[in-house]
Every structure is written in C-alpha cells, then in structure tokens.
Amino acid sequence: MTAVVALIVLLPFAAAVAGLLATRLGTRTERMAYRRAAWFAIAPGAASAALTVWLAVALAHGTGVSEGRFWSELLPGRVEGTLTVVETGSVPISLTLRADGLSVLAGILVVVVALAVQVYSVGYMRDEPRYPSYSAFVSLFTSAMLLVVYAGDLIVLYVGWEIMGLCSYLLIGHWWEDRANSRAAVKAFLVTRLGDVGFLFGIFVLGAAAGGFRIDDVLRADIPRGTLVAATLLLLAGVAGKSAQVPLQTWLPDAMAGPTPISALIHAATMVAAGIFVVARLYPAFLAAPPTLDVLGVVAAVGMLGAALAALAQDDLKRVLAYSTISQLAYMAAALAAGSDRAAMFHLVSHGAFKALLFLCAGLVIHHVGSNLISHMGGLRTALPVTFWTMTIGFAALAGLPPASGFFSKDAVISAIEHGTGPAQPFVYASALLTVGVTGAYAARAWLRTFFGPARIEPLPEPPPGVAHVFDGREAPPSMLWPAGVLAVPALLLGLAGPAAGVEVEWGPAAVSLAVALLGAGIVYALWRAAPEQDPARLLGPFRAPCERAFHVDAVYAALVVRPVLRLARGVVRADARVVDGAVRGSGRATLGLSGLVRLAQNGNAQLYVTGLLAGLVLIAVAAVVLT
C-alpha cells in the first residue's frame, strides 16, 4: 500500500524530470517538442489522479483505529510505511509516507486541480517557446505538494514545503524578460522563505521534545505545554508565510505576475492551502496550545477584513481574486482557531475548487480581452457564454449564495466561529460577518463590471513579449473550456456532499450570513445601476486609495526591512574594504613605514656607523660585566 502512495508522489516527479530533460531528444520541430511535453505533463498527472481515487476507495474500506478525527468514519483506513531511517547523531530523520483520511482528502483536491491546470495550460500557452519547462515545473510542484500531503515525517514535509516555494518562484518568474515578474518571483520566494525559517525552528522544537521527527511520535509524545506553545507559534510563522496570512501576505498579490493557470493551481488551491493543511495535520498539538489558537484567530480576523476591503478597491481582476484568496484563507484559519478543523478542511476543499475555477475563467477573460484590468472589460456576457456561466457559479460560491458549495462551507466556518470559545471570539465573529458582506460586494462588483455594462472591446496594441497573446473574438479553444466546466461541477455540488461528510447546516447563522452577503451585493448593484461606467468601489470614498494599496503594508515593509538591509549591505562592503581589509593592508604599510624610519640612520656617514658600533660594544661589555 505504501508503494501506491510513493507512486502517487513520484509519478509527477518523474514527469518533471522527463519534461525537463527529454522533450528535445530527437525532436525536429517545436510542435513535436510541444506535444511531447504536453504528454509528459498530463499522462503521469492523470495516472496519479487515478491512483489517488483508488487509494481513497481502499481507505474507505480499510479498518483502522479511529482516532476520533473528523474524517475517521468516512475514511477510517490508515497507511504508513518507513523507507529508511537516517541517523543524524541526535534526532533521527525517518523517510516515511503516511496516507490517512485527511491527506487523501487534500490529495484529491491537489491532483484534480493540477490535472485541470495542466490541460488548461496546453491551450493557454499555445506557442509559448518555454512551455516544456513550464509544464515540467508544474509537475514538480504537484509532486512537492503531494509530498507535503503524504509526508509522515516533519523533515520530509519540510523538504516538500520548500520545493513548493522554489516551484512557485520559477513559475511566477516564467516570463522573466520583464524584470517586474522576476522581482515578484524573488519577493514571493523570500517572504515564504522567511516564514519557512520559523517553520524549521518549530520542527526542531517538536523533534527535540519528541525525540523523533515522525508525526506519530510528535503527536503521541507528551510535550510540556510551554514547549508546545513555542513550537506551534514558530510553526505559525511558516503557515503565515505559505498561506499568505497577515504578517507575510504581501507576496500573494504580486505573485499574480505569473501565468493565470499558475495562479489557479498554486496561489488559489494548493500551495496557499498547505499552511492550513499542516495545522490540521498537527491539530492535536495546536489544540493543546490555546494561546497559539488565539493568536491565529486574531491574525485571521485582521487578515479577513483587510484583504476583503483591498479586493473591493482593486482594478486588476487577478489581484481581486488574490486578495479574495487571502480573505478566504483567513476564514479557514479562523475556523481552525475556533476549534473546528472539520469546517476548515471542508472550506479548504470547496474554496480550492471554486477559486481555481474563478482563476481559470479569469484566464479565459484575460485571454479574450488581452488585459487584466476590469476597466478594460464589459459586456462579455454575449461574447463568452460558457465562461460567463462558469464564472457566475464561481462568484456565487465565493459570495456564499445557496446552491453553490461556498454557501455550505462558509456557513460551517461561521457556525464554528460562533461556537468558538476563547477571549477574541466576539471580535473574530464580528469581523467574519463584516467580511461576508464585503465579499458579497466585491464578488458582485467584479461580476457586473466584467460581464455587464457597455462592451469596451477596441483593438488593443500587440502585447509585449511577456503577456499571453489575444484570440480574435472567438472564445477560447475547448481544451481550455473543459477544465473550467469540470471544476464548475464541484464548485456547485460539493456543498450538497457536506451533510454526507457529517457537516450539518445550521440554518440560523446561514440565514444571517446570506442576508449580509445579499446586502453587500445589493448596495454594489444599486451603485452600478446608477452609473454603469463608473466603478462601484467609489462607495469606499476616501478609503479607496489605501484599500487599493493594501494599506501601504508593502511600502512599510520596504521602508522598514528592504531598504535598511540594502543600506546595511553596502555599509558592510565598505566596512569590509576599509576596516577589515584596511587592517590587513595597514599592517603591511606599517612595516614599510617602520623600515623607512630605520633607513633614515643610513646617511652614508661611516663615522656615525663606527660610533654606533663602539657604543654598542661598550654597552655589551657593561652588560656582560654587570649581569654575569
């Protein structure tokens, strides 16, 4: 059984290696290399998906000790296999893979979205010269995410965790001709890397306390409360970095510089969800450290509201969705803080589905219009019918309107927050409700300004070499529409599957949140009806500018961290050249100076020399006589 899990993880890795090395072997034309790269990407992805489904079925029938976790009744089976134990001298690292209900749940989401994105990318990157390396990196990313999901050892999890960060760097910087994309990629990697350092130290604390890095050992070992709080807070740093939570969220909006399928896969469904997944994976440890959960709750509340307001004021469609992702992830974090990992995982899966759908549809719209900005869009309802309907489902799910899955999963989160205990609970609940309203508002705004209002399609200039080229009028090829369609199904129906997985709908809070969402949407609709060509975001009035700049958090970080470090670096180089190296060169010059002084005595006067000689002689004689 472990072999199956290993295969699921290794298949995309093999696809990546093959994609990188073998696409050009013996191919004459670009077309052949392109098609071979596509096959290298899609075939293993599909195989891995099939194996995941088979594993889910196997676990459903499996028998295992039910640890009372929320998925125990649905998928009671558990598989754990250790390949080898690496003796490091103190805490051993064991290369173990572990598949249980939680990881299969997340694994299905990853594999499905990855496959959809790979198929979608074949069309999206039509004759892009660097498609083979792009598709290889997406496969590498998928295998890294699967390694995180199926890791049984914290260090193995950390390896997958960091490789994901690298792939996001490589894919965000895919169009590196334009230095802005390259800078966005570097920023994404560095911010997540900063979080990962905290994550690694958290793993150290847990590993040292438990005597081993295996997740089972960590969860079973009785670790003193103080150490646990310290460890979980450090892990929280990594989670904040990866899931773009408040202190380290500035990289996600800039990550939109990458191709849209990447945003769909990495920055909507999988990587950003990895943080929430890790908290769910180590949930018993987090439950035993309430202060950490309170911190998580407060951070989530702040992030939720701030991101939603920022999304309302954005003009770039992809940045709207990016801020919306930050906000929805904050929801999941709030659910975890409130004590219900069931609601968080349910919202994670449904959000993964409808947010990926939204990004893919955004890709279709951008493909059609040739620009990301909402102000360039309008009246696309007739031009892109399929995209219109799938995107409507997406926005409905995002806003939390009944038939869509968003309604059920967000309601689960809201009720979890309501039942939560802990000092910050009322603040978190209030912020959650407010955010539901604002979410409804920005979803409606984006939906109306994209598909309704006057059609503003004028021939746009040929895009610079970095932007995907434009289709002339016709909607995207079927290879791009099918993945959107496939993802629309779970976005719509996943909610109904909720009750089957033990997530009952509490109609009280659900009704309240629905009302608030409709209120937000209604206000925006009214403003839009009044003046279709103007931006409904004017309701923010004076707050619009700070919201658009995401409360200048980026500028603050640049001023407080980036520039001082660069200035310090230049200072260090100057100090190194002048002080440390100066000391070395100075010692050389000092000896030369000294020799200069001694040389002054050589003025050529032989008598002076003889005087010195005899004086020395006399001194030696005196010394000999006196001392001996």
Binding site: G26, E87, P129, R179, V205, L566
Partner: protein
C-alpha cells in the same frame, strides 16, 4: 590494502615529476587527465574497500618512522571523517583537468599549470590522509606554494597583489598553527592523532588545552576562513583562474574545517568547550556578514567568494556546538559546499570567459536567452547553494542549526539559540542575494550584443537609452552608473542578429549532449553546442556549453542531487566516526 593511501599520495607526485619530461610536456593536459583519473580510481577503490560496517575506526593505516631524530612518523590512514573529503578532492581535481582540456588557461604555459595542479593534489590528499600532527602540517603547507603560483601566474589583472596577500596571510596562520601543534606535542608527548584523539585530552592541563586550541583554532580559522580573518579570500578568488578558484573553494577551505574535526575538537576537548562560544559567535558573524557583503557585490566571482565565507560560517557553527549532530552537519556542509561552490566557480569562469567580464552590471541581463544552458545551470547551482531541501546544500545547514539548537552540555543554551536564529536569518539573506543575482544576470532582456572577449578591450559603449536605463535602474541606487560593455545596436537590431546566430548554431546540433542541465529553466533554444571553428578567431566562441564543460559539470550536478535526495549516503559514514571523536558513543 594499506598501500592505497600511500599510492594516493605518490601517484600525483610521480605524475608531476614525469610531466616535466619534454615528451610528456607537449601533451601535458592529456597527461594530467590520465594521472588525476588514476587518482580518482584509487580514491573510489579506497571508498569501496573501506569497511562501512565500522567507519569510526581508523583503517588502512601505514605507520613508518619518517624522521627518527624528531620522532616524526609517516602515518597515513582514513576513517569516516576523511573518506568523503579524499574522494571529493580526487573528483574535483579530475574535473578540473577535464575542464582544462577544453579551455586552455588564459596565461598560457599549460604544462606548468599541470605540474602545479598535480603538486597541489598531493598536498590536498596528503592533508586528509595524514595522522601525524607534523605530517599534517607539512601537507598543509605544501598546498600553499602551488596555489600561490596558480594565482600569481594564471590569474586576472590584480593577481600579484592577491597572490602575495593570500600566501602571507595563510603563512601567518600556519605559523600560529605550528605553535599550537608544538604545544600539544610538548604537553601530550606524542604527535600521533589517533592516540591523542583516543585520550580525549586527558593528561593535558586545562589552560594548556585552551592555549593550544586558541593557536590551532586561529591557524585553521584563517584557512576556513572565519569572519574577521577572511579578507584574503575574495581577492584570491577574483584573481584566480577558473581551475584555481574551483580547487581553492572546493578543497582548500575544507582543509581548514577538517583540521577542526580531526585535531582541534577531539584532541583538546576542554579547550574546545572553553572557546566554543567565541567560535560560534564568529561563525554566526561570518554568516550574516558574508550574506550582507554578497548583497552589495558587483563582481560575480567576488560574490561567490563571500558566499563561501557565509557557508563556512555554517560549518564553524556546526563545530562550535560540539555535538555529534553539529559535527555531522559541519562535515556534510563541507562536502556539499565543495561540490556546489565548485560548480558555481566553473560557471562563473565560463561566464567571465564568454562575456570578458564578471561585473554583474556590465553583464547586462538576459543570460537565459543568450546562453540557455549556462543560465539554467547557474540557476540550479544558485538554488542548490541557497540551501534548498532536496539538494545537497540543505542538509549540512539544517544539521548545523539542529546542533546549535541543542549544544553540548557545558555550553550556554540561550546563546546558541541566538546563534541558531541569526543562522536562520542568514539563510534568508543567502536566498536574497542569490536570487537577486539571478534576477540581475539571467533574467531581463539582453542589453549588449557583442561581448568584449578578454583579449580585446571593451568597445566604445554606444548605449541605447532604454538599455542603459534598465541596467542602471537594475544596478540599484548605490552602484555608480557604469556603461554596459559594448552595448552596440538597439535591441531590435539585436534580435535580428541573435536570430542569425541561432540558425548558424542550430545546424551544429550535437546529438550526444542534447540533454540539458538538470532542473534548470528555459530549454528555449536548440541544443546550441559551440563548434570549435570559432575558437580559431582567437576569441572564445559566444556559443553555449562546450563538451568539456558539460563533462566537467554534470558529475557535480548529479552528486548534488544524489546527496540532496539521499543524505544517508554521507551520514552513514560520518555519524559513527563523529560520535567516536567526541567520545560520546551515545547521542547527548
């Protein structure tokens, strides 16, 4: 089988002597490859015949009186600590010769370079095999003279000053080291490392141990290099030829850190315990200082040199923790740094050869478009060097930080936690400067079209406004505006010219090395392998990777990935050896 260590030292020596024969001199590089090949085979044989069941014990020992008068013995042997380093040395030297075959040294006189490198190899391998303090010191010194000549004769513009600073600085360090060794001899009465390590410092007064550790530590710290004693490294690297830089970074730095693992810590435990906090403080200062210095560097080779200061900081942090896991991390980081920085310097040399300069601002951008293979390999090497898990660089640093997390009993825990935190931030800074460099050199649009080869001075810099603005904005506020090298026609014309080159090169498709570097980016262009015809015009062809370069680099790439994905290969050998050295059979 105990003749193997002697053969490992004797073969390069004989090779060097024989290569002076005129018949051999005109095919010197081929001879060099043959000799270093034999040494590599011997090293691999050594690894094969090594008894992996008990890597802690000293194996294949030969112990003969050398200078009876002084009580010096010719004592060679190998154990878990020195085995990986010996194989690394043999491999790197062999790859350097392979690289030399395709790229003759700029300063000419290849025969003399071959002799120098072979003598260098004798010194390096001897240092790792020596088990007698003075024998270790002799080999430690033998390495200096050839490296001085490599830098002084085949170096870059300011080579004389750099060579003189290198040899004077290191000699001063070695003098202090000798004093330390003599203190140990007088206190302990014997020079045999195995016996000394076995005693774990009993029979030596605590103050004598501290003094000896201070002296030996300073001597080794100059070589490692530790933070305040590092200023010879950037100059030596900037001026050394590619081959010299690879060996200097790949092996010479390891001799310093190997000294800590073999002599300083096992023989003088109380001295080590007393001075470990200082060693840790300087190591961590080195990490932060090295990474910050790299952030503001403009010369590629100088930046890689400072990154070596940073990485060796991790090695020293591992040693400072005095725990088996710390030492494990240090030794693993040693080998990993040797492989990765060796590859980085090969690439930097290749870039300097093609662009004629290593100054990042004058390189302009867009290397992934001009040289797809070299660009992707440079990306791979940088990613490996910033310590990405899954590649060799990560495990060494992680284990060193883990060692600092729980230091040896006598050391103050909060102090080492601070060291661990600063080391962690150091990894972020490392990632910052490597990715900054990649973004500046490999990404962006190609600014100039005709690279000024090292032979001809850079042409009149006629810059297109847009190209210069982009370079200057990219150069950061501090750097003074410098014209990129011979910026030539506007970007549009550039693309047309680049296309013609494209067609010319597509015709020269070489089937066998079609497959590119490993997980690099852009496989955009045909397998552009430069044809030798262009060399005739006296200027390096601006083509992409040549056969010899690939042959020299792929083993390094393969080993980096292997040790990254399977760290057990190294740790299985070093863990028992380290535990026996620290005298703690069981983990603390």
């Amino acid at each position: 089988m105990s003749w193997l260590p002697i053969a490992l030292v004797a073969v390069p020596l004989l090779g060097a002597v024989v290569s002076a024969v005129p018949a051999v001199r005109d095919r010197a590089v081929a001879w060099g490859i043959a000799v270093s090949g034999v040494v590599l085979v011997l090293a691999v044989a050594l690894a094969a015949v090594f008894d992996h069941a008990r890597p802690a014990g000293m194996q294949l020992q030969t112990d003969r009186p050398w200078i009876p008068g002084l009580g010096l013995r010719f004592h060679l042997g190998v154990d878990g600590v020195s085995l990986p380093l010996v194989v690394l040395t043999a491999l790197l030297t062999f790859l350097c010769f392979v690289h030399l075959a395709g790229h003759p040294p700029a300063g000419g006189r290849p025969a003399a370079l071959v002799v120098t490198l072979l003598v260098l190899e004798v010194g390096m391998i001897g240092t790792f095999l020596a088990l007698d303090l003075l024998l270790f010191f002799v080999f430690f010194e033998v390495v200096l003279v050839p490296m001085y000549f490599v830098i002084a004769l085949w170096g870059g513009a300011g080579r004389r000053a750099a060579a003189v600073k290198f040899i004077l600085y290191t000699l001063l360090g070695s003098a202090v080291l000798l004093i330390g060794l003599l203190v140990v001899r007088t206190q302990a009465g014997t020079l045999d490392m195995v016996a000394l390590a076995g005693r774990h410092g009993s029979g030596m007064a605590r103050s004598a141990q501290i003094l000896a550790f201070l002296a030996i530590g300073l001597g080794l710290a100059v070589k490692t290099p530790m933070w305040p004693l590092h200023t010879w490294l950037p100059d030596a690297h900037t001026e050394a030829p590619t081959v010299g830089s690879v060996l200097l970074a790949g092996v010479l730095l390891k001799m310093g850190s190997y000294g800590f693992a073999r002599i300083a810590i096992p023989v003088l435990p109380e001295g080590a315990a007393a001075l470990a906090p200082w060693l840790g403080a300087f190591a961590v200062a080195g990490i932060a200082y090295g990474s910050l210095a790299c952030l503001a560097q403009r010369d590629l080779k100088r930046m890689i040199a400072y990154s070596s200061v940073g990485h060796m900081g991790f090695v020293l942090l591992g040693f400072a923790s005095l725990t088996p896991v710390g030492l494990n991390g240090a030794l693993f980081a040693n080998v990993a740094h040797g492989l990765i920085t060796g590859l980085l310097f090969f690439l930097a040399g290749a870039v300097k050869e093609r662009y004629g300069t290593a100054d990042m601002v004058r390189l302009g951008g867009g290397m992934l478009r001009r040289l797809p293979y070299i660009g992707s390999l440079l990306t791979f090497a940088c990613v490996a060097s910033l310590g990405l898990p899954g590649l060799a660089g990560f495990w060494g640093e992680m284990l060193a930080l883990l060692g600092a997390f729980s230091p040896a009993a006598g050391l103050s825990r909060p102090l080492f936690l601070v060291f661990m935190a600063v080391g962690g931030l150091g990894t972020v800074l490392t990632a910052a400067y490597f990715l900054g460099m990649l973004s500046r050199v490999t990404h962006g649009r190609v600014v100039e079209n005709v690279p000024a080869g090292p032979l001809e001075p850079p042409g009149p810099p006629v810059a297109t406004a847009e190209g210069v603005r982009e370079v200057l904005s990219e150069a950061g506020e501090g750097a003074e505006p410098v014209e990129p090298v011979a910026t030539g026609a506007a970007v549009a014309a550039l693309d047309r010219e680049w296309a013609e080159q494209e067609i010319a090169r597509a015709s020269a498709v070489a089937a066998d090395e079609g497959e590119a570097g490993a997980t690099g980016a852009a496989r955009a262009h045909g397998p552009g392998v430069a044809d030798a015809a262009e060399v005739g015009r006296g200027r390096r062809p601006f083509g992409d990777v040549t056969v010899h370069e690939l042959a020299a680099w792929l083993p390094l790439v393969a080993l980096i990935v292997l040790f990254g994905l399977w760290p057990k290969a190294l740790l299985a050998v070093t863990t028992p050896a380290v535990q026996s050295l620290l005298g703690s059979g069981v983990a603390p």
